[in-house]
Amino acid sequence: MTAAAIEVRAVDKRFGNVGIIRDLNLSVAKGERHAIIGPNGAGKSTTFNLISGHIEPTAGEVRLNGDVISGLRPFEINRRGLSRSFQVTNVFARMSVWENVRCAVLWATGHRYAFWKNVDSLPEVRERTAKILDDIHLMHRRDVPAGLLTYAEQRELEIGITIASGATVVMLDEPTAGMSHAETDRAVALIRRLTEGKTLVIVEHDMSVVFGLADRISVLVYGHIIASGTPEEIRRDPKVKEAYLGEEAH
């Protein structure tokens, strides 16, 4: 039996005296689309930070494809094939859209810290960058500094940077937050297409998106996962109804 793509075991995270994440257990199978839902401040972004190496667990461990990754630096985890986006847009503001995506392609194409290659004459880098820009519909904005994009465009660029490395495990933190309905629909279609065949972990507030997209859902409340299962199971779960859906879905 193959290892889960992501396996979080008994993870605690304390900031000072405050326990934000308590005994968190989460398993995401390879190729699965997994949504994490929960009220604001439940610890969804903190969970992302713990898995992606942004912060270290106080206790417990995180595994990626069976290997322990807790304690590794974010770039080491990224090199093992996990890529994440940020809830608050986190791009390279003074660089062009093209440069933003290209930077995210460079490590994965093996060019690393090379200072003896002309970056403009690396065909596979150029092709991959162009493909990503076509995918996220930003090719016509390729020369615009990322800081000057509209909000929705920046969110799309955020997704583009995240998937550019070709990581097999993709984590998106509220990719559609703040988007209009039309923009959300477009973004969801984009996410669905770009993560085809990959493992996806997504934090999302829009329940129609969550139930339409996810194979499985975990519900996080006060730093603890109270339920994990298929959309059908989650919909029927009395704990979830009480703690979460009860207040939002009515």
Binding site: S52, F75, R79, C103, L106, K117, P145
Partner: protein, 430 residues
Amino acid sequence: MTTTTTSTPKLATDPAGDNLRFYGVWLAGILALVVLPLVFSSGGSVTSFSLIGIAIVFALSYNILLGQTGLLSFGHAVHYGLGGFAACHMMNAVVSHGWPIPLPFIPLFGGLGGLVFAVIIGWVMTKRAGTVFAMISLGIGELVASSSLILRSVFGGEAGITTDRTALPKMFGWSFGPQIQVYYLIAFWLVLSAIAMYALTRTPLGRISNAVRDNPERVQFIGYDPHVVRYIAFCFAGFFAGVAGGLAAINFEIANSAYLGAIQSGLVLFSTFIGGTAYFFGPILGAILVTYLQLGLTSVTSVWQLYFGIIFIGIVMFSPGGIAGLVMMHRPLVRAGTLGTVIPAYLVAIVPTLALACGVILSIEIVARFSGGEPINLFGIGFKPQSPVTWITAAVLLVVGGFVARLSWLRVADAWDRAATVARDRGYLA
């Protein structure tokens, strides 16, 4: 779909024309370096050109840190100075051992001197960016500068290490005694270094350096360790600063503790910032201007540092992008053909601005020369620092000039906004 196809042609550039322009600029620069000393052939000019060449290499090396990687160093002269000492020791060793190394190769050893120190000290220094890096660079700068006075065998104490560039093996029959030959040596290394440093910006490392500058946190999530990126960039900056120091050692035939000190570190920061860090050519403009100001001002006023300070503050306040930023602001207007509508406003604004500048200069010189009483010569007009006429003139220039200048610059801003709006409507963003 239609929006994509109509807006793409304007953004997509014409590669053949771009290439032509790109190589044209570089060739024009090289040509200027070759021809300049032939046109302005006085000894003073050639000496100035030599100093400018050194300053450009130094400022470009500094911009690898500041403009490209976002590292603010207060101790960059350490690498420049150590490069200078390495070059002097190498020259002396070549002479005493009779090695067949001609002078034009010496700057390479200067570069190695700067590089070796960067390799040793850089890993710890570049662990963090921002204030931490700035403070450590200041500390290291002080440390090395004071060590240079204590470690006499390496740094020669107060006197420094002297050398004789003409004693090295000849190359193409050149002795490098005459300044003009030294100038061409400097120009050669300037071209070489500038091309290398430009090429560096076009490599994967150069691009990721920019990413580290913009957002070191996100860089970690696309596979890169920002510490390693900063470290490699720091080593390159150290190498080219060392080359500049080596050129200075050849030019002056001496290296001393002044090469390494805070003043030298401040000057390169000053040049780079004034020139503009966002564009490759910014530090070149800054180095030219600052070297000229330094040479020109020191001969006409004793308080030249004061003017440096005022210029620096002026740039920080009114044009944080430096001279290069000011120049490049006009690019969309030039492309859209609306620059002409702004020029009259500029011409109008120049007059009161000059008056204001004269008022500032006069005020400073009144204070500076009040007790000594030596006359002030402002564009050929003599003023006595103790005379009330001079004070009134200064006050009128300051107040009236300042007031009118303010009004006229507001009009420039209006004209500018109109021109920029038209340019944007025509699809020229930057």
